[in-house]
């Protein structure tokens, strides 16, 4: 056993994480994912019913009866596991069906499934780009895109967050390379910022660059029929590569995909390592996901309700004097700036029966600590009102109701 020095090293690192106050702890949920959940927190404590305002369950489909029924049918008709990677004997007819439905829904030519969108992002750059090429990425792209870019040999350029003039400069600098790919999130998960995809596509055309978008926080609900950021920004059908997840709005179990130009998807099927060396989605998830896409293609009722809920929540919070980051996305950052304040505020919200989480450095930049609220179509108006009342009460306790950014920073520091 050579685990003595190592044990000490890891323990010290854990202690340091704890001392910095950034230790992540799981909270155990004793009920299905929903607007109301039963939570055990801290571990071992009596469970309590709280309203969930921190899930990516945007459309409330995680525990929707028709999705559960489709999952059961999938289990009965196609079994539990595949015990194989896709290209040996791990692909069923329902996998093909899901890939075709996703292509249609996203407005692309072809789709390839992955066990997660993290895997899709790990696969996409390495499969398609080499050392002659360049990736030009928004500074705040998701960690999985950063990792994906690191795995490929292409040159890396970074442009300031959603700064189109800076992107243009970088595109000019990158003209010497064989291919160029712009990489961005459709929606940035910490801020709810929506990328100006119309302008990005125009720059891509001007400077001969492909456009890659991770639309995980948009697929299913942004745009008039919920197709995503490209629909909202009027460039549906014009994105070369979309990666997205089944683990958020589309039922929320797990799985992701790369969807886009046919030849590029075919190459991913030949070369991408997470596809070649790992099982794909279990039949239960595939069956349920097929149902989710049917539900969303038939009616926009759920995304319409989410839109209403988001608008109502944002308006009422602002009216109540809470400092939220402006926008239109169901991700609503409550800006508190100071890490300890964000953490204390979230704890007090939990005591009020509202489950939200504080985020601070290194997840968000220093001095930009916040609570991230996520609105769902499964929230009813009374849920939203209860959350707004709780935010107001806790904000009063910390004397920050109606206070500006500078006033909050003056009181609590950065």
């Amino acid at each position: 056993m050579a685990y003595t020095k190592e044990k000490e090293f890891f323990q010290k690192e854990l202690d340091s994480i704890r001392q910095q106050g950034i230790l992540k702890e799981e909270r155990y949920i004793h009920s299905p994912q929903s607007a109301d959940i039963e939570v055990e927190y801290p571990a071992g404590a009596q469970t309590r019913e709280v309203l969930n305002f921190c899930a990516n369950n945007y459309l409330g489909l995680s525990s929707h009866p028709s999705v559960l029924k489709a999952a059961e049918e999938g289990l009965k008709e196609r079994g539990y596991g595949m015990s194989s990677v896709r290209f040996i004997c791990g692909t069923q007819d329902i996998h093909r069906e899901l890939e075709e439905k996703l292509s249609k829904f996203l407005g692309t030519e072809a789709t390839i499934l992955f066990a997660s969108c993290m895997d899709a992002n790990a696969a996409v750059f390495e499969s398609l780009l080499g050392q002659e090429d360049a990736v030009i990425a928004d500074k705040l792209v998701h960690a999985s895109i950063v990792d994906g870019i690191r795995l490929c040999k292409a040159h890396q350029y970074v442009y300031k967050h959603m700064d189109m003039a800076h992107l243009e400069e970088k595109l000019q600098e990158a003209q010497e390379h064989r291919f160029r790919m712009i990489a961005t999130d459709g929606v940035f998960s910490m801020d709810g910022d929506i990328a100006p995809l119309d302008e990005i596509v125009a720059l891509g055309e001007k400077y001969n660059a492909m456009v890659m978008v991770d639309d995980s926080h948009a697929t299913g609900f942004l745009g008039k029929t919920g197709r995503g950021t490209h629909e909202l920004k009027g460039v549906f059908g014009k994105i070369d590569i979309i990666t997205t997840t089944l683990g958020k709005a589309l039922g929320g179990a797990s799985g992701g995909c790369i969807s886009g130009r046919k030849e590029m998807i075919d190459i991913c099927r030949q070369k991408s390592r997470p596809y070649l060396f790992s099982n794909t989605l279990a039949p239960v998830i595939v069956s349920a996901s097929n149902k989710v896409l049917d539900v969303l293609s038939e009616s926009t009722e759920r995304r319409d309700k989410l839109e209403w809920n988001t608008k109502y929540f944002r308006e009422q919070m602002t009216k109540a004097g809470i400092n939220i980051r402006a926008g239109e996305h169901p991700i609503v950052p409550i800006m508190l700036y100071n890490a300890k304040l964000a953490s204390d505020f979230a704890r007090d919200m939990y005591a009020e029966g509202i489950y939200v989480v504080g985020f601070f450095f290194p997840v968000v930049p220093k001095g930009q600590a916040r609570i991230r609220v996520q609105i769902s179509a499964s929230h009813e108006k009374e849920h939203l009102d209860k959350a707004i009342a709780a935010f107001t009460k806790v904000a009063k306790k910390y004397n920050i109701l109606g206070k500006t950014k500078d006033e909050i920073i003056a009181m609590y520091g950065l």
Binding site: K139, V141, V146, H155, V158, K160, F361, K366
Partner: protein, 87 residues
């Protein structure tokens, strides 16, 4: 030397700071550990220096610590760039 330092400083300001940031970048201001330059953006800083001085900095040398301040970057450059070019 101060010219090189100013150039690095200006590059960091132009590439990584937002217009509303009124931060002063001194020679010993922490760049990476403070979050001004994240590890993702560090790659473009490395690329800029390689292009400018026509050098190649091996990955083993391109550590977050080596890029953590204007002073550290100049020290790193000294290993690869002849002194007359660093004036």
């Amino acid at each position: 030397m101060s010219n090189i330092k100013d150039e690095i400083r200006n590059y960091v300001k132009k590439e990584y700071l937002e217009d509303e940031d009124e931060m002063e970048i001194k020679d010993d201001t922490a760049l990476i550990s403070s979050g001004i330059v994240d590890s993702f953006s560090m790659v473009s800083l490395k690329m800029y220096l390689e292009k400018k001085f026509k050098i190649s900095i091996p990955d083993a040398k391109a550590t977050p610590q080596a890029f953590d301040s204007v002073n550290n970057i100049v020290e790193l450059l000294k290993e690869f760039v002849p002194p007359e070019k660093l004036q």
